[in-house]
Amino acid sequence: MAIYIVKRFFMMIATILIIATLTFFLMHSVPGSPFDEERTSNPTIQANLEKFYKLDQPTHVQYFDYLKSIATFDFGPSIKKPNETVNTLLARGFPISFELGMVTILVAVISGITLGTLAALRHNGIIDYSAMAFAVIGISVPNFVLATVLIQQFAVNWNLLPPATWSSRMHMILPTLALATGPTAIIARLTRSSMLEVLTQDYIKMARAKGLSPVRIVLRHALRNALMPVVTIMGTMLAGILTGTFVIEKIFAIPGMGKYFVESINNRDYPVIMGSTVFYSAFLVFMLFLVDIVYGFIDPRIKLHRKEGDA
């Protein structure tokens, strides 16, 4: 297990390094100097600016400086928003995006697993069919469409919930719903199919024969094994939710990092784009690392192995 963690850790560092390198060289392949637009006809000012941002240095020196700044979490200034750096934007926006993401994951995991388990227990029943109909629709409808429909109905037509921003519990309902539906559908489908498989296994029959209550069988015996595929796709799901926040924050005018990121794409604010890409990638890769470790811990085979070793 320890070897596995160490190995995964170095993989993670390698991945982040590749992303950082890719970002750096892509940034350098953009033609022209970032100060071309500034209309500084004065070559001395231009030279001074380039000196200030160390653009006069050879590429490899810039590269190592850049790696150093990433290692110290300093992603540089914004060129379109004066007095802002990528760090201040992150500090302001990321906690909100993180909250949105975490609430979404919680909702998706809890409702997805519940729905999938119920569908499997009532295989080919009404609950099963309606849950799977919901799942297929949830996978097919893009979140920006869903978000718009939700705003239209709940906020405009029925006037039940606020249509935008992120200022109270009530404000959180619609964005979370819009973002969580897709992942909920995926988790429900996965849970259902693996639950169906697990429920036919001999050890479940054994548990039934022992006379355990159905609830106990499902919760203690079946679910644990049925959830392994769900844990496996958590990584991909996190990536999906993360990119989903870009769209949702844009639609609901939530002042999170996603909104700044989309803004920076639209006005081609390169340092912000690069900085947030590296930050987001590193964050995601780190989450994947955590998921893998959790997987290692809850995988019954690995656990069994360790118990045998202890005994």
Partner: protein, 312 residues
């Protein structure tokens, strides 16, 4: 013994050869089915998947022919026709430039389907070459090639795609390039897994003993037998590419007017949705959803149909 022999007189015709009934000899009790025919038979029973397939065929035909037949111009702004609700003249209404949403929807279908299919095909070619070599060669080659894949697999794809799109500038080619640079990895993993499993079967050994070279074995023996999972993967790549394209369009990295994808149309419609021009969002959104739905159910159906374990 002697008496018995005399008593039982078997007629001579009993010992004549019965003769071969040509018709009966050729008759088959159960129709013999090839893998593909069998899969098709099972797929046809799956109503949802067939519905998806029919929808996609109709969608493709409309995408090809509807823009050609449409009387409406979508290049010159027509202020007289701005923001009209659906009517006999404009079935899906018009947008803020007076363009017919019906015509634009089918132009959008061309873009979206083209992106999806192109991404799936390129993934397919890179994936089978990389995965085929990695799985077939095995040993150190495989280890190195898989290490590379593992690292690429850990990259956040859409973020890399966004980065590439920002640098290269939005266009049809860049979207496809960006999607495939990160997308082939999944296909390569599947092909490799399959090849690894099949390459030890006897018929491959037989082929080798006849002197077939690596490329021939991969092309003639291994790939045809890995086609099932590959096709399923391709069917599922198309909707995810369409989705990615819609997503990119939505955050401002889409192909611009007049020939806009569904994602761009939906994005353009967002600011005006609250002023009641619902048709501008509704139709592109409906078609994105239906297309995703069709590809997903078709992919699921094919997965079941092509699974040899379910072959009955």
């Amino acid at each position: 013994m002697v008496t018995r022999q005399q008593n039982v007189q078997a007629p001579d015709e009993w010992f004549k050869p019965k003769g071969r009934d040509a018709e009966k000899a050729e008759s088959v009790v159960r129709p013999s089915l090839s893998y593909w025919k069998d899969a098709w038979r099972r797929l046809r029973k799956n109503k949802l998947a067939m519905g998806g397939l029919v929808f996609l065929i109709i969608l493709t035909l409309f995408a090809i022919f509807a823009p050609m037949l449409s009387p409406h111009n979508i290049e010159i702004t027509q202020y007289a026709n701005q923001n009209q609700p659906p009517s006999g003249a404009h079935w899906f209404g018009t947008d803020d430039k007076g363009w017919d949403v019906f015509t634009r929807t089918w132009h959008g279908a061309r873009v979206s389907l083209f992106v999806g299919v192109a991404a799936a095909l390129i993934d397919f070619f890179i994936g089978i070459i990389y995965g085929g070599i990695s799985g077939y060669k095995g040993g150190r080659t495989d280890t190195i090639m898989m290490r590379i894949i593992e690292i690429l697999y850990g990259l956040p794809h859409l973020l890399v795609v966004i980065l590439l799109m920002v640098i290269m500038g939005p266009s049809l080619t860049t979207i496809i390039v960006a999607l495939t640079i990160t997308g082939w990895v999944g296909m390569a993993r599947i092909v490799r897994g399959q090849v690894l499993q099949i390459k030890n079967y006897e018929f491959v050994t037989a082929s080798k003993s006849f002197g077939a070279g690596t490329s021939r074995i991969i092309r003639k023996n291994l790939l045809p037998n890995t086609m099932g999972p590959i096709i399923v993967q391709m069917t599922l790549t198309v909707p995810s590419a369409i989705f990615a394209e819609a997503f990119l369009s939505f955050i401002g990295l889409g192909i611009q007017a007049p020939v806009a994808s569904w994602g761009v149309m939906a994005n353009d419609a967002l600011p005006v949705i609250l002023s009641g021009h619902w048709w501008r969002l509704f139709f592109p959104a409906l078609f994105i959803s239906l297309t995703m739905f069709a590809f997903n159910v078709l992919g699921d159906g094919m997965q079941d149909a092509l699974d040899p374990k379910l072959r009955g």
